[in-house]
Symmetry: C2
Subunit: 658 residues, 2 copies
């Protein structure tokens, strides 16, 4: 190639540079240098997305003399843009060709495949915005008396010519819009395309408003993030109580409701759809868009939530062998679910791993990517069931362990949800066995209260009970087998009919005027719950043949609130460097958002499902054995080297006699 | 190959025969000999569809000694069938292997790809039953605690293994049925599959009831044929008035209704959907099936009817350049159109050829296949517009000619639809110019009435007016230019203000007590209509460079009623051997049925659309010229050799002086 006809192109702010032959379109030159520019019209010069600025002058540092005159003269399309914007300082990279050395400034907005940052507890991750649904600007040949094809065939031809897309299908709502949009847009339309195959909508002119919803349907709470599918930004977040709570607090009671009532399924399905429609409407309103501009939706939730959302009976999840209707991802039309989004909007429900390990767990894995790491991660999401995933890039195991609702405050004498008035933190004096606590809604600890605070304690929530039992054990008020210590001198420990009762808050300290206590039965229930969780993790470790985990990720609200050290003292989670025990927040919701913004990540969930082996614990004898050993505080036989500095004494010696 | 291990297999009643190696399954042997046997379970021995009878004894004529013992012993599946049917005289061809010479009787019911006969005016055509939707019987591995996939993944695996089908998709309604069906059918289910890709339904056990609807939406009448998609038989036919008639009699007035009223499209769309639901419900009832068992539907109609059916505005069809929204075939979900069939049922609208040449014309071509013939066919379907197609296997042209509604009795003084009381046939005495006529609902001609018949004439329908004008011309009452002949001595011809009026029925002969007459204006309107039709055909001949047609097919009700000879005398159609002018009945409806029963025929419509060139007449000057020449009776310049024996005299000489 003749060097005389090669020109130097430098792209700022990236600084990427290289030589290209004279006559190369700037867009192509940038692509060759690794900078992909935004384009909705695929280089037709009509969408004005690939605007760049050419610097003027000598740039000795770069060894270049750059001038706007070193590009081809502005094309007709560019002159049109100059007039429209009343500004001729930008060029269109798809129109201008390189005819001399140029230093090009590429504004952030002109970059394709924008990246957004996801903040996590322990990492910041870039998500490339590459959604399943995208807008395309196209100019269509007007219909004439001599042209016999229909308008769709003309649009089809334009998309093939201008965007190199073939085999496209037109959704019925788009067919119904087509003719009016073509004429209103003077034969220029924006096509909203899904998966390079389905045309969801046809809008007049340039209409790049394309939004999506990432939804996490929890048993208790539903959260929806409205995202701009072009920029990747979250433009609104709305949350609501899952309305199915009225028909049953937990998954099993909802399955029972479906079993007992002929209209049970319709009721639970209808009620969640209504709530999602309200969330979508509110999110759209607060973002100032139309629900009609929401074209995509990704849904995660536990398997029962996914089934109910789809209107599929969860009956079989409720009885052995806990068969799902479909484990794979499900793609359906929003209108088939009566979702009030764009009528052609798509809904993608992420796949599940097994009977009680649902799309929420897959989404959490997608967000945290333990399957890509060399280290062995334990991912735990605690609810009525605990979803446990263990592994690394080479292998991965998942199980659901029946912890029961004790961690959520149920089955505890004064248990309650984490709400104002709930005791959420507890400390017990190692010498005296006296308690102090903190209540949700009050800043100071109870021993610092000079006057009664505005919010008086009502009960104790999951993180509070974990704190309390761990602390009582550390203070010797509780024995390793979970019995109250008859030798304890704590004045708070009372004995009723030979059974210990620990008074956490005195009657005069509480809102009810009744003391808040921890009974032997409460301790027992927590032991059962934590034993199930620990045994689940332990069984996966056993099956994988590993004797330790490198890091532990606690997902969900429970994980965000508990004191990880006390959780380990209680024997909730296996031994691990405490610095590597993270609360990862709403990882399921984050995973839903990632799958919404990046189509390849949806494909990645298939890889996750194939990579992770699901283990059914309920049929496993080894689980029963591990469970019995895990009832002790923190464990009958396992040691916790990372707690050596805090645990009262070697476990064997701490065992009581008799 | 060792001949000792070859056995003689003869299949009756076809008589097909050959040798196969010992151990060959009978089904495979039959397939090799050209007889495809029915199977829903794909040779698993569970559907019992491939039952055959083995003849016992010596068959010297066939040179064979046959015995049931010459097959492998009955398999477990066959023994199960013997018990179920309490009959062990049949074997299953998929289970039994050939171990000696056998004479096999294959019952009609056991044949795959059944053929049905379509009777047409001039031919009997076989349609191979190979529908888009078919049932498949499958046995699925039961869910166990150890099997982690969902029920869908298990069914998917079974279909891959037993039917060699992969890449299948489950429709939402099928997903909702899946788990209950698997358990109710004890893990044996019938899957209703479309296009070897989409699973529409999952039914417990063997459930082979699969039906389809072939629908012809006419501007005036809607006809639905309910077909058994396994046997190909029509099990019920229902017809109704197109309810849109209330909003406008013809296509243009319905387009106007949509244009003028904001809810016009919704109204016209909703009303035809309601009528189709009623037709489907009635057809299902009279066939003793559930509408839920209707899984497929093929729709034909003119372009406006297709658009309104799909809920797509026909506005653009109403104004130049008459652009269709989509010319291609359209596939949609029945539930998206609120059709009360199976919720996953598919709807296929056949493609159109151009602005006013719709799916009904394509269907008529599919039924009559002129595009496969060497002879040049002219296919004409007369309504408010006449659809005209001309051509053969090498080329084909189509156009729509604006005949106006005169042929349907509109714009005629005493015009009416073809209903009881309409004069449908007319003869005029060549000497006296006296008329006689026949009325729909009365057997005898009017000159044979001794007492007034039960039904007295009310008006004159399309075929009657054609008869009348042709006869008046033959009798010299009308001149070739369409004026009443001042020299005529007919006592029925009266002159009012210098304009002729011909009294066809006297006041005392009619139901109204008023005479039924034919005015100069009536003649003029018929001239305009027939001129448009003739000129359309002529223009296509001109464009194709042919000077004659080999045969003429008249489609639709109009074609079935008119006297083809008189139509030619009138100059409605070009000259042709009268023996080769056929009424082909409801060819559009037949074409819809063909496309419903045979998926390949749907593909063939693509070939038709590609083969036929659409000509827009309204912009064509040559059409205007041809139109003017075609106003004369039968034509100003063309000759009609096939009418030489009947036409009054060479046209030039018949022209009046002055």
């Amino acid at each position: 190639m003749n060097d005389e006809h090669q020109h130097h192109v430098i792209l700022m702010p990236s600084g990427l540079r290289g030589h290209v032959p004279a006559g190369t379109p700037l867009m192509e030159a940038a692509r060759g240098l690794g900078v992909e520019l935004e384009t909705i019209c695929n280089g037709q010069g009509t969408c004005h997305k690939c605007r760049v600025h050419i610097e003027s002058g000598d740039f000795p540092k770069h060894g270049i003399t750059s001038s706007p005159a070193h590009l081809s003269p502005p094309s007709e399309r560019e002159q049109q843009m100059f007039r429209q914007m009343d500004d001729d300082s930008y060029r269109l990279a798809c129109q201008a060709t390189v005819e001399g050395d140029v230093l090009v400034f590429v504004p952030e907005n002109s970059l394709a495949r924008k990246q957004i940052i996801r903040k996590s507890a322990n990492t910041r991750r870039r998500i490339t915005v590459q959604p399943s649904v995208r807008p395309l600007l196209t100019t269509v040949e007007p219909a004439t008396l001599d042209s016999h094809p229909g308008d769709w065939e003309r649009l089809e031809a334009a998309l093939a010519e201008q965007h190199h897309l073939t085999g496209l299908r037109l959704e019925l709502p788009a067919l119904r819009q087509l003719q009016a949009a073509l004429r209103a847009g003077k034969w220029q339309v924006t096509v909203i395309l899904r998966d390079n195959r389905d045309i969801l909508a046809v809008r007049p002119g340039l209409a790049e408003a394309v939004y999506g919803l990432a939804v996490d349907i929890g048993t208790t709470t539903v959260v929806a993030h409205l995202c701009d599918l072009c920029s990747g930004e979250v433009v609104a977040t709305e949350a609501a109580m899952n309305p199915q709570v009225t028909y049953g607090e937990d998954v099993m009671s909802r399955i029972s409701y479906v079993m007992m009532r002929e209209d049970g399924l319709d009721t639970l399905h209808g009620t969640i759809i209504n709530t999602l429609n309200t969330l979508a409407e509110n999110a759209a309103q607060s973002a100032g868009i139309q629900t009609d501009e929401i074209y995509d939706m990704v849904v995660v939730g536990n398997t029962t939530m996914s089934h109910l959302f789809l209107g599929v009976s969860p009956l079989e999840i409720g009885r052995a062998p806990f068969a799902l209707a479909e484990r794979d991802a499900v793609d359906v039309c929003a209108r088939d679910l009566k979702l009030a989004l764009n009528p052609a909007a798509a809904v993608h429900v992420l796949p599940a791993l097994g009977g009680y390990v649902g799309a929420d767990t897959v989404a959490a894995l997608l967000a945290e990517t333990p399957y890509d790491k060399e280290v062995v991660s334990l991912v735990v999401d605690v609810g009525t069931n605990a979803e446990i995933v263990l592994g690394n890039r080479h292998w991965m195991l998942a199980a659901s362990s029946p912890t029961g609702p004790a961690f959520e405050g149920a089955q505890i004498t004064h248990g309650m949800r984490a709400a104002p008035g709930a005791i959420e933190q507890v400390r017990v004096d190692r010498q005296t066995g006296e308690p102090r606590f903190r209540v949700i809604g009050v800043e100071s600890w109870s021993d610092a209260w000079e006057t009664p605070p505005e919010v008086l304690p009502v009960g104790i929530c999951g993180s509070g009970i974990i704190d309390a039992i761990a602390e009582l054990y550390l203070a010797g008020v509780l024995l390793p087998d979970g019995h109250f210590n008859p030798d304890s001198t704590s004045s708070q420990l009372q004995w009723r009919n030979g059974r210990g009762v620990y008074v956490l808050a005195e009657a005069e300290q509480t809102a009810t005027g009744q003391p808040i206590v921890i009974t032997q039965k409460d301790v027992r229930n927590i032991q059962l719950a934590k034993g199930a969780l620990y045994a689940g993790a332990k069984l996966l470790m056993l099956r994988a043949g590993v004797d330790h985990v490198d890091r532990i990720m606690l997902a969900g609200a429970f994980g965000s609130h508990i004191d990880t050290e006390r959780a380990m003292i209680l024997g909730l989670i296996p031994d691990c460097d405490l610095k590597r025990v993270y609360a990862v927040g709403n990882a399921a919701g984050d995973g839903a958002r990632i799958a919404l913004l990046n189509e390849e990540k949806r494909q990645e969930t298939k890889r996750i499902v194939a990579h992770v082996r699901h283990i059914e614990l309920s049929a496993d004898m080894a689980f029963q054995e591990a469970f019995v050993d895990a009832l002790a505080l923190p464990h009958a036989t396992d040691t916790f080297p990372h707690l050596a500095h805090i645990l009262p004494a070697p476990l064997e010696e701490a065992k009581p006699e008799g």
